[in-house]
């Protein structure tokens, strides 16, 4: 399972990487902005090993995670990418906006071991189905 982590804060990228490695997910790349993420995703999509998942912060300067999600949904080469938005915004409206934009899941900060575990289980179950 190949995963891209996107957050403008190094600390969050580190925490996510750490948690994913603990869950035996080691094929991880990271970047600190959406523009670079889109380039990385598009380049990988041309190869035999595209990204399966992206964990992306919603609220970032310049291009937000939601905007990146929409750009991914508009790119036919990124159709298979599963997008998980990460945010401290727990409003139902925000979560619904993410869902309508095509998000696979939504990780709320501050996450707990249990809440992150639920997301990882969802990822694994779906990965098994499509693999």
């Amino acid at each position: 399972m190949k995963i891209l982590i996107v957050d403008d804060f190094e600390m969050v990228r580190w925490m996510l990487k750490d948690a994913l490695k603990d869950a035996n997910l080691s094929e991880l790349l990271e970047t600190d902005n959406a523009t670079s993420a889109l380039q990385t995703l598009r380049e990988a999509a041309k190869t035999a090993k595209p990204f399966d998942y992206i964990l992306c912060d919603w609220h970032m300067p310049d291009v937000s995670g939601l905007e990146l999600l929409k750009l991914c949904r508009d790119d036919k080469n990124l159709n298979g990418l599963k997008f998980i938005l990460v945010s401290a915004d727990s409003d139902g409206a925000a979560i619904e906006t993410a869902r309508q934009a095509g998000a696979f899941d939504y990780l709320l900060k501050p996450w707990t071991k249990a809440s992150l575990g639920t997301i990882l289980n969802h990822m694994r179950e779906h990965y098994k189905v499509v693999a």
Partner: protein, 159 residues
């Protein structure tokens, strides 16, 4: 005085947001000091993160101001190596702490029927600065832990 700013639940919600963020996200146990209402001037600590609130209902800010040794301790727990100077990792941690505390605080307030929205935090410092506050509508909450101390200031005014 605003209808909201000094309601007890607002202060309690902010304390809950700080405690949840530090304890569940960063595994740091914090103790809450006595809130000070309407402080006129606050000496900020090494690094501060601010989330500005400017929305239909309210204007104001949430500000978290940290001792550098507290931040070094949090990051050492996270990364597993020592920090001794303010660098990008340390500044970033202030932004993320502010972001997560505000998000959780907003969640509490919005459950009470308000409609605060997310924004992007700004980081100020390093260096001690004095913050002169408006005469009303602020509360300062001191926190301490084995790693060091920090203060949280809420300035919230109803439009």
């Amino acid at each position: 005085m605003s209808a909201l700013a000094f309601e007890l639940h607002t202060t309690e919600d902010l304390i809950a947001a700080v405690t949840l963020t530090l304890e569940s996200f960063f595994m740091v146990k914090v103790e809450v000091g006595q809130p000070q209402f309407k402080p006129l001037q606050v000496k900020l600590q090494s690094l501060s993160g601010m989330m500005t609130i400017d929305q239909a209902e309210f204007y104001g800010f949430v500000l978290l101001s940290f001792e550098d040794r507290f931040l070094y301790g949090v990051l050492q727990k996270l990364y597993g190596h020592a920090f001794s100077e303010i660098n990008k990792s340390v500044s970033d941690s202030v932004g993320e702490l502010t972001n997560t505390v505000y998000g959780t605080f907003k969640q509490h307030l919005n459950k009470r029927g308000h409609s605060l929205r997310m924004s992007i935090p700004t980081v100020h410092g390093p260096g001690a600065q004095a913050l002169v506050l408006p005469l009303h509508d602020s509360v300062l909450i001191p926190f301490s832990s084995e790693l060091g101390s920090f203060v949280v200031i809420l300035n919230l005014n109803k439009k």
